[in-house]
């Protein structure tokens, strides 16, 4: 089963971004959650060539909303 290692970089916000393994590749327009924050994916690029089952992806995202602390 492929694993997508994703580098999320946030544009237009002080949020530091994240690196997370996902079971699917990010898609432009998709909403994703990182901790207490929800973002929209605005750009997706291959960061490094795939190796084995691992794919290395960069996604630029923008902040949509911050949730209350759970």
């Amino acid at each position: 089963m492929p694993v997508y290692k994703v580098s999320y970089v946030v544009t237009g916000s002080e949020h530091p971004g994240a690196i997370v393994n996902r079971d699917h590749a990010p898609v432009v327009g998709e909403q994703i959650t990182l901790g207490d924050y929800t973002f929209e994916v605005i750009e997706v690029l291959d960061l490094m060539p795939p190796r084995g089952e691992f794919y290395y992806i960069h996604a630029t995202i923008r902040l949509l909303r911050a949730e209350q602390e759970k």
Partner: protein, 149 residues
């Protein structure tokens, strides 16, 4: 889920056989953390590698000349913490704090890790190659992140 199935989705172990993943699993200890709990402190001595298997952690740099206690990145499922100390045996390069409730990590002690690599050089070679790839990925992420500011 079995620990070997979890480890199979961690880049560090990409290329290991099922038996080898079992050997790695035998030196892992699970640790459950509360939100806000500190895992490692910048400057402290460290001889453990951590793998995030659930939740999120914040990587915090304290550069008092610039910005004290700045979160530089969040790391989620499948990511490594403490890999630099594992390689160079230097002090921890950052403070790491659990950012979600719960956050679960697998802990591998350096001496157990080195013993396993000495015993099975193939594991040592594959893990070291993957460790280099992980550091490269983090550097690329950092470059892109700084370029976006």
């Amino acid at each position: 889920m079995e620990l070997t199935n979890i480890l199979q989705k961690v880049e560090l172990f990409n290329g290991l056989s099922e038996d080898e993943l079992g050997d790695v699993a035998s030196i892992c200890t699970e640790k459950q953390l509360h939100r806000g709990e500190i895992i490692t402190s910048q400057g402290a001595h460290g001889d453990e590698l951590y793998i995030v298997t659930e939740g999120f952690v914040e990587i915090i740099l304290d550069d008092s000349r610039k910005e004290p206690h700045k979160v530089v990145v969040n790391l989620g499922e499948g990511q490594l913490i403490g890999e630099m100390s594992l390689i160079d045996q230097g002090p921890r390069s950052a403070t790491v704090r659990a950012a979600l409730e719960p956050t679960i990590v697998q802990v591998i002690r350096r001496d157990h890790f080195e013993e396993l690599c000495d015993h099975n050089n193939r594991i040592g070679y594959i893990v070291m190659r993957n460790l280099a790839s992980d550091l490269s990925f983090k550097l690329r992420h950092r470059n892109l992140s700084e370029g976006s500011r």
